[in-house]
Amino acid sequence: MRIPTIFVLILLVLSMLATVALYADFQSGYYAPVGASSLAQQTPPKLSLDADYEVGMYPIYPALFPSGDGVTEVKAYCNTCHSPRYITMQPPLPAAVWTAEVNKMVNSYGAAIPDDAKQKIIEYLQTHFTHETRKRS
C-alpha cells in the first residue's frame, strides 16, 4: 500500500515531538533571543609588497552621554586628546575628584579650556557621574 507523503511528514513531525518529550523527562531547553553581537567578521586585508606596513583606521565607538548643561563642552574639549569614553569608563567618582580631574587636564596636560567652559564641564560631570548621580545603563 502506498503511504501518502503527508502521512510520512506527519509521522516525522510526531516522532520529532516524541523525541522532545523523551528528553523533556530529564532536561528542559529553549532558545532565548538576545541582542546579536556587533562583532562582524572582517575580510582579510589585501597586502602590498612594498615597505609600507599599514593596518587601516582604528575604529571609534561613540559613547552615550546623558543630555544636559555642559554636554556640548564635554564633547568638544574632552575630545581633543582622548575620546570622551574616558569619562563613561570611570566608576562613579566623588564631586571633588571630578574637579581635580578636570584641573589636572588643564594644569598638568595643558588642555586649552576657557574658564567658563571648564566650570560647565566640572558641573556636568558632577551632575551625572558621582555616586549619587550616575545612572545605570
Binding site: M1, I3, F7, L11, L14, S15, L17, A18, V20, A21, L22, Y23, A24, S28, Y30, Y31, A32, P33, V34, G35, S37, S38, L39, A40, Q42, D50, A51, D52, Y53, E54, V55, G56, M57, Y58, P59, I60, Y61, T80, C81, H82, S83, R85, Y86, T88, M89, Q90, P91, P92, L93, V97, E101, S108, Y109, G110, A111, A112, H131, R134, R136, S137
Partner: protein
C-alpha cells in the same frame, strides 16, 4: 489505516508541552520567554565598590590585527585581554592587551623611511634601519611578562580615576631582538651620561612641553635592568602587531610596561635626570612597602614617591573561571599562571577555604625568570557548596603575595591574593 501505534499517539500528545514551548518560541522571536540565565550583558561600568569581575566590563570589539578584545578606550586605544587567553604560558599576539597614552598612534610605518635614532650624549649618533638591526647585531630571545602599571586598577577601594582595568592588562611573549647594551656600545656613551631616554612614534595634541604632547620614559644607566633590555622586532616569533609597537619596542624584563616604549624610534643618552612629565609627575608610586598608602596620607602632601619600577609577584586561577557549576565529587584540574618582576616563581599555593589552609600546586615548564609560569593542581570538591579558591605565589627572592589590599592614587601595583568563587552542586 493506522501507521502509528496508540503508544506513539499518546507520546506525541504528551509531547504537547514541549511542542508548545517550541511553538511559542517560534511565534515570539525578538522577545525572550523569560530572563535567560546566561548571556546577560555586563553592566557598562562598575563602582563605587570594587569591580567584582575578573576582567573589565567593556564591550568586545575588533581592532586591526586583533581578536575580539575588551574595549576600555577607542582613542587612544586601550584593549584588555579576556581571561581565557591566560590558560597558556604565552599570550597570542592577536589577543595581547593594548594601551597607548597619546591618540596619534601609527597605523602605517614606512620602513623605507623609518630609522631607530640613537642620539644625545653619545660619541657617534646612529640611525639604524630594520635590516641594520636584523643583520648588524646579534639576536637574543627572552620570555617576559608585559603588565600595565594600572593592571587591576578597578579593584582599588576607594576607586581611583584612570583606565579601569580588570586583570587582563598583561601578557607574556617570547621577545626577539637586539640587546639595548649592544646598541649603546655601538653608539658609545659619553662620560657624564646618567640616564637613557626612550620615545616612540606616538604623538599627542597637547602643547609642546606637556605630557599630552610626547610620551617618553627613561632608565638610569646604573640600573642593572639596562643590561637585560631588548629592542625587540619579534613577538612570539612574529612581527609585532601595529598596536603592540611595530616595528620595534623596548622590552624591560621584570619592569612594568610603562617603560616598554612601543614603535621605539628615539634612544637618547641624557647627562641629567629626565624631568619630563612621564617620569617626574606620572607613574610614580609611594616609597612605602608594596607602594601602598591612604587617601588621608595623600591629603597631607607628605607621601614621598618614586618612579614605578619592578612588578610585584602575582598569580591567577584561570580555570575553572566560576562560570560553570561543578558537580560535587568530580575530579578536576585547577590551572593558572604566576609571575614576578623580581625573579623566578618558586612556589604557587592554593586554598579552597578562602586563604586559611594552603596546598602546593605543580609548576609548569620554566621559560625563564620573567615569563608567566603555569601551574596546576588536581582538585576534587568533596561536597556541595560555595568554595573560595585563593591563589598565592612566592618568588625566588622570597617575595609572596599578601592578603591586604593595595591603595595609591595612581591605582598601581595591585597584587593582593586573588580569589575565585566556585559553585559546586549536588551530584545526585
Amino acid at each position: 489505516m493506522t501507521i502509528f501505534s496508540r503508544r506513539v499517539l499518546l507520546r506525541s500528545i504528551g509531547a504537547g508541552g514541549a511542542g508548545l514551548v517550541l511553538a511559542k518560541f517560534l511565534e515570539s522571536v525578538g522577545e525572550p520567554l523569560q530572563e535567560p540565565t546566561v548571556g546577560r550583558n555586563l553592566p557598562s561600568f562598575t563602582g563605587p565598590g570594587t569591580n567584582p569581575f575578573w576582567n573589565s566590563v567593556g564591550p568586545m570589539v575588533s581592532e586591526p590585527q586583533k581578536a575580539p578584545l575588551i574595549l576600555l578606550m577607542d582613542r587612544p586605544v586601550q584593549l584588555e585581554t579576556p581571561r581565557h587567553y591566560f590558560s597558556s604560558a604565552f599570550t597570542p599576539n592577536e589577543a595581547f592587551y593594548v594601551r597607548w597614552h597619546l591618540d596619534g598612534i601609527p597605523n602605517t610605518v614606512d620602513l623605507k623611511e623609518w630609522r631607530l635614532r640613537v642620539e644625545g650624549n653619545v660619541e657617534k649618533p646612529l640611525t639604524l634601519s630594520l635590516p641594520d638591526l636584523l643583520t648588524k647585531f646579534r639576536s637574543v630571545s627572552l620570555a617576559a611578562v608585559n603588565q600595565c602599571s594600572g593592571n587591576s586598577r578597578s579593584r582599588l577601594q576607594p576607586r581611583v580615576a584612570g583606565g579601569q582595568w580588570g586583570n587582563g592588562a598583561m601578557g607574556n611573549a617570547l621577545w626577539t631582538g637586539v640587546k639595548l647594551r649592544d646598541i649603546l656600545d655601538a653608539t658609545g656613551l659619553k662620560s657624564g651620561s646618567v640616564e637613557v631616554q626612550f620615545q616612540g612614534l606616538d604623538t599627542g595634541k597637547g602643547p609642546e612641553g606637556f605630557g599630552s604632547n610626547k610620551f617618553m620614559k627613561s632608565l638610569r644607566l646604573d640600573n642593572p635592568v639596562v643590561d637585560e633590555c631588548i629592542v625587540a622586532y619579534s613577538m612570539n616569533s612574529q612581527p609585532l602587531p601595529m598596536l603592540n609597537g611595530f616595528p620595534v619596542r623596548l622590552v624591560v624584563p621584570g619592569f612594568f610596561a610603562t617603560y616598554w616604549i612601543k614603535s621605539l624610534t628615539w634612544i637618547r643618552a641624557l647627562d641629567k635626570p629626565d624631568d619630563n612629565f612621564w617620569m617626574k609627575t606620572a607613574y610614580r608610586v609611594p616609597d612605602t612597602p608594596r607602594g601602598t598608602t591612604t587617601p588621608e596620607e595623600v591629603q597631607t602632601g607628605k607621601v614621598k614617591t618614586v618612579p614605578i619600577n619592578r612588578m610585584p609577584v602575582r598569580s591567577f586561577l584561570i580555570s575553572p573561571d566560576g562560570s560553570t557549576k561543578i558537580p560535587a565529587g568530580l575530579p578536576l584540574m585547577l590551572r593558572g599562571i604566576a609571575f614576578s618582576g623580581a625573579g623566578r616563581v618558586s612556589k604557587v599555593q592554593i586554598s579552597e577555604d578562602g586563604a586559611r589552609s594552603w596546598r602546593v600546586a605543580t609548576l609548569g615548564k620554566d621559560y625563564g625568570a620573567y615569563s608567566f609560569r603555569t601551574w596546576e593542581m588536581a582538585w576534587t570538591p568533596s561536597h556541595r557548596g560555595t568554595y573560595q579558591i585563593a591563589v598565592r605565589a612566592t618568588d625566588e627572592k622570597g617575595n609572596t603575595q599578601a592578603d591586604d589590599p593595595v591603595w595609591n592614587p595612581g591605582g598601581y601595583l595591585w597584587n593582593r591574593i586573588e580569589r575565585q568563587e566556585l559553585a559546586v552542586g549536588s551530584a545526585a
